[in-house]
Amino acid sequence: MDDACALRITLLSRPALLSCVRRTVEAWCSLTGCAEAELAAVGLAMDEAIANIIRHGYDNSPDGSIEIEFHRDGPTVQFTLTDNARQVPLESICSRPLDEVRPGGLGVYLMKETMDEAVWSHRPEGGMQLILRKTMATSPEVTMREHDVR
């Protein structure tokens, strides 16, 4: 994965910012020249990830901090989300069984389904880290900009 982080977003744990982050992520991913459906998948995964940090990590408190680092290596995008929220047992981060229909319990499933990888860990300095990664299908045009994105 490329070492230089070309973009980083730091936000407070406020639901109103979700739409803004989604659009940023989609615009940034579109630099890979991928298909619309791929953008939508990554936008959804990021939305679910941040919503979970806000609700489960920060218990809906609006003043928690969330940082997202954007990395890219060719067609592969990787996002590292870090927070200072409480550390929960990693095995508790899992969705309800799909056939047990009830409100909620889908976010983690959606992240795993739409990304190639969604991996949570505890940060040694406190808080949680989530890595979301996906290799996008690219179109030929993208090589034109290869040199100045990443």
């Binding site: 979700l18 989604r22 919503a51 409100p103 959606l110």
Partner: protein, 117 residues
């Protein structure tokens, strides 16, 4: 003209149906408003409750959860719950979470108003 990221929900009713029309993206910031309007619509105890998603470009799992809740409430009240006007993007989240088989999904509002359930 107001910007496209603000959110609103319109509730309308006919003899046979209460129609809920969210306008904008449904995510964690807007789903509580959708839930409130849905509760109001269901409280009207019409034979049908219809959620018209024509003006919704995006929905996340908090929106889906709100609709599952609506479905369960109407079931208890023995009334029909229908979704219509879904864009491909919105439909895909129902498909991924295999809820497209649980909900009654009509193409258009007219179809939802005319569907026998």
């Amino acid at each position: 003209m107001s910007a496209d990221h603000t959110f609103a929900v319109h509730v309308e009713s006919t003899d046979v149906a209460a129609i809920v029309r969210p306008v904008g993206d449904v995510d964690l910031s807007s789903s509580p408003m959708l839930r409130t309007s849905l509760e109001q619509a269901i409280a009207q105890s019409k034979p049908r409750t219809i959620v018209d998603l024509t003006s919704v470009g995006y929905m996340d799992s908090s929106g889906v959860a709100t609709l599952v809740e609506g479905l369960q409430r109407t079931r208890r009240a023995d009334s029909a719950f229908l979704l219509c006007g879904m864009s491909d993007r919105v439909l895909s989240i129902f498909q991924i979470s295999r809820l497209d088989a649980i909900f009654t999904i009509a193409d258009t509002l007219d179809a939802a108003l005319g569907t026998d359930t």
